[in-house]
């Protein structure tokens, strides 16, 4: 093989063949051009610029001024609020993502066993996913209003004093998790499709062998749907790292105030910074305080963390494809 390659390299390539190869390459490049242009303009260029800005002081209007690692130093040592945002985002990754996956999987598994009216239940569970996040969050904040919301009114009728939900730093994030569970339709539908795709003969063989339900899940269902679970975990973690809209709307509505005097940084995170997420803080620094250099440093770190999480999850889960070993 090596000899053949050497011989091929050494021998002169006829001119018509060279021209054909060039044409072929240009044709391929022409077909790839839209993607290459999109990748360069909308991903690589912004990424390079963000990396550059992260080493500068930049306020959008004046030219960036190189300050070396000072933005990163500020992140590590002088910005206490960013660490609150990091903790909140980590909490969402650790609690919200698994909660949504477990709940979504549970609902899907129940739906696979429904004999009649499965279509109706599938529709009912999927419908919340169609609600715009802003509208859904608004509705949730009003439903969970501690004083007038139907949830606490209902709890009071059975003798339970409901918490302050979105107005209590201890309950605001759990309330956001409930909102996430309510909108489980997107995960539910792909889990359901994956569950329905598990070969029935494997279940039949297991039934003949007399396996218990847990063993059936552990040795048949789980290996078969693992690629989809991995997909759900990766996209869920990335979404949690970028969690913004629901937390912003909840904070703004629950605080009951407009932004007067102070910047938006005092409303985002209400109450007491408990719903302040990392992307929100990035937004505040970039577009409320106009510290674009520092915001770029935050964006670079977020990107790095997202990549690391994705790589770890993919490696742990052996990518999206089930292997012989995983199905064994």
């Amino acid at each position: 093989m090596a000899l053949a390659l050497t011989a091929r390299r050494a021998g002169p390539v006829p001119a018509p063949l060279r021209a054909k190869r060039r044409r072929d390459r240009l044709t391929v490049l022409a077909f790839l051009a839209p993607w290459l242009i999109g990748l360069s303009v909308f991903f690589i260029y912004p990424l390079v610029m963000t990396l550059y800005y992260s080493f500068t002081r930049f306020d959008l209007v004046t030219a960036p001024h190189w300050i070396g690692l000072r933005n990163y130093e500020f992140f590590l040592t002088k910005d206490p609020k960013v660490w609150q945002a990091v903790r909140n985002t980590a909490w969402l990754v650790v609690i919200l993502v698994p909660a949504r996956m477990i709940f979504g999987l549970g609902v899907s598994m129940v739906l696979t066993t429904v004999r009649r009216g499965g279509g109706l239940f599938r529709t009912l569970f999927y419908l919340p996913a169609l609600a715009p996040p802003v509208a859904a969050t608004l509705a949730f904040v009003f439903m969970f209003n501690p004083e007038t919301g139907p949830v606490n009114v209902g709890l009071a009728k059975i003798g339970i004093q409901g918490p302050l939900w979105f107005n209590d730093p201890a309950w605001a994030k759990p309330a956001l998790v409930l909102l996430g569970l309510w909108g489980i339709g997107d995960l539910m539908i792909i889990f359901l499709a994956s569950l329905l795709d598990v070969p029935k003969d494997q279940y039949e063989a297991a039934a003949l062998d007399g396996v218990r339900p847990w063993q059936r899940f552990r040795y048949i269902t789980f290996p078969n749907i693992r690629p989809v679970l991995t997909f759900g975990a990766v996209t869920g973690v990335i979404a949690a790292l970028q969690y913004f809209t629901e937390a912003s709307v909840a904070a703004t509505v629950a605080s009951g105030k407009a932004n007067v005097g102070e910047g938006i940084g005092t409303t985002l995170g209400y109450p007491d910074g408990s719903t302040l997420t990392y992307p929100q803080w990035l937004f505040v620094k970039g577009f409320s305080d106009y510290a674009l250099g520092y915001a770029s440093a935050l964006a670079v770190l977020l990107f790095a963390v997202s990549v690391i999480f994705t790589v770890i999850l993919l490696r742990k889960a052996q990518a999206f494809t089930p292997t012989e070993e995983s199905l064994r």
């Binding site: 209007v61 000072r70 007067v260 910047g263 106009y290």
Partner: protein
Amino acid sequence: MKRQRFFATLGAGLALATVAACTGSSTAAPSVPPSPTAKVTGTVEFWHFFTGREEAAIKTAVADFHTKYPDITVNVHGGQDDEKMLKAIAAGQPIDLALSSTTDRAGKFCQSGAFKDLKGYIDRDKLDLTQFPDAVLAYTQFNGVRCTLPMLSDVYGLYYNKAMLAAAGVNEPPKTLGELTALAKKLTVLNPDGSIKVAGFVPLMGWYENAPAHFAPSYGSKWLNADATSAIGGDPTWQEMAKWQKDLVDYYGVDKLTKFTSGLGQEFSADNAFEKGKVAMVIDGEYRSAFVTAEAPTLPYATAPFPTGDNHTDLYGGGYITGNIMGIGKGSTNPEAAWLLMKYLTTDTDAMVKLANSIKNVPTTKAALSSPKLEADANYTTFLKIFADPHSSTTPASPTGSQYQDTMADFFTKWQTGKVSDLQAALNDVDKQINDALALATGP
């Protein structure tokens, strides 16, 4: 090899684009425009933040301008906040005239060059700056660079429900915060389960217009030193304010207050708690009277200067002042026409009075303040007096915008929920955070 060459070319292109982008912008030098030799004509792109009822008033003012200068057409873009305006200016969009709702960003606008330095225009046209009150002049410039002019202001004072006070046998509004505390307790009504039905005064910082900036004039509290570093930790009046506020929060209980406020309507809605009679006294701006007229015309209310700290009774009569500021965008393509419109909206007495009458903001020129055309009932007159009072003050401009106020607001959030054990240490930490942010924004 070819692949390597392709990626090398792509990399070089990106690097070139990066360098080009990094060197493309620079700080705009102050411009000194010559006198226009020809009649000023053309189009002005005017961006402002007003919406709804208030936007209609702006459009009327602009229509009046067009009647006066028919050769100038104004395209009005309402509902544009500072963030959108700054992004548009940075992107090179030709915003000729921009109106910001807050003085907090004057430092940013002037220092960054987002708004043009107006000195050339002011000198050339011999614009008399003494027509503006001193406090207003202070918040429209930064470090000697005047890049904005004031167009109407907001003044803060006390709104109180006359019927509730009368029912408690009180006919005069409180003048000190000690009196306000006593009255608030007297006016508070509890439900049988102990929850709050009607609050005399809600002291929670962050609720409606309760902000450190709005209470600061009651104590004469100092925000920043001349070099924009924090003066908070070294000013004992901040501790006085914090203790007064916490005492009243503790009287109600922070959980009870939070539950109560969560059930109240949004601030800028017809369900506003003061308009609904759920709160007897609030701190608010002069604009509230226009909302009351529109949304709760039968509400028996009156206004007064906000009470002062018990040891600062000499400050009574003053209050917090802020306002709208107007500047010519860095990339303006018709700055002469923009300057004409700016002068009209900020210095023409009739135009300003007409706007003030519609929006119920306080005019920002002395002539407009004393104009007989200014419709001023007793409640509105209170704010005109506060505006003219020498003890009124505003928040200083800083290169970090409103960050120092945000930091203080964060402190109060922790303080009022009992998470601060050492007040002085916490205020020193506020100083450190503000100074660190300043160093990042302006350091070498």
